[in-house]
Symmetry: C2
Subunit: 118 residues, 2 copies
Amino acid sequence: MNILTQQAQFDHPCPIRNVLHRIGDQWSLLVLETLSRKTLRFNEIGREINDISKQMLSRTLKRLEQDGFITRTVFAEVPPRVEYALTDVGRSFLVPMQALVQWADANHATICESRRQY
Amino acid sequence: MNILTQQAQFDHPCPIRNVLHRIGDQWSLLVLETLSRKTLRFNEIGREINDISKQMLSRTLKRLEQDGFITRTVFAEVPPRVEYALTDVGRSFLVPMQALVQWADANHATICESRRQY
DNA sequence: CAGTATCCAATGTGATACTG
DNA sequence: CAGTATCACATTGGATACTG
């Protein structure tokens, strides 16, 4: 049992299970990547990602906000305006995340080929 | 729509969806981390991770093998011996992965606190 | 505009019995 | 030892109607 799995006995303080598995869903990384360039409104994010449902966008944003990756700012206007932006934590996450995305991009073809040959 | 989501229209050549989402499950990163130190047998990996079922270990290993992250070597012995090891692709993945794990480790407490306060 | 509520399908996970 | 088969349950995801 290694250092990362060891503590999982108690209340899963294992960062892989508690942090990475959480953002390892279908949309979190895409949302963070979309917000990395600029602050956006709810529907703007949806249009950027293009094929995410309002439902999943809503849930994903709420979880990212809960985990402290993004902020949600409501403006008292009509029609309502809500802006989402990265926090410092979210912005610092971008560094390892972009390294991962670059790796995935560079090895994408190789992995697809490996799957085909299997 | 950004460069990462743009191509997703066709057959999801988006590396986030096709590569990262796949290893974003509960066990893949833990298995890769476990194999990063040395080649191991099936049950050895299970003992290291400690609370993974044979079922999920089997499935996770198969997917990682299919994607080309690990190799599976069967020795013609009795009792049977099967060893799992990282491929070059798997080993290269370790670099961005470890950066991510370190980030998760460093920000684990902050994120948990953010969840509690929500 | 920015969501929530509801319902349903697909996938992921767990426990355990069984096999070569 | 190294798995697979089966069943059950949890979580995730998708579509869409509805609301302030």
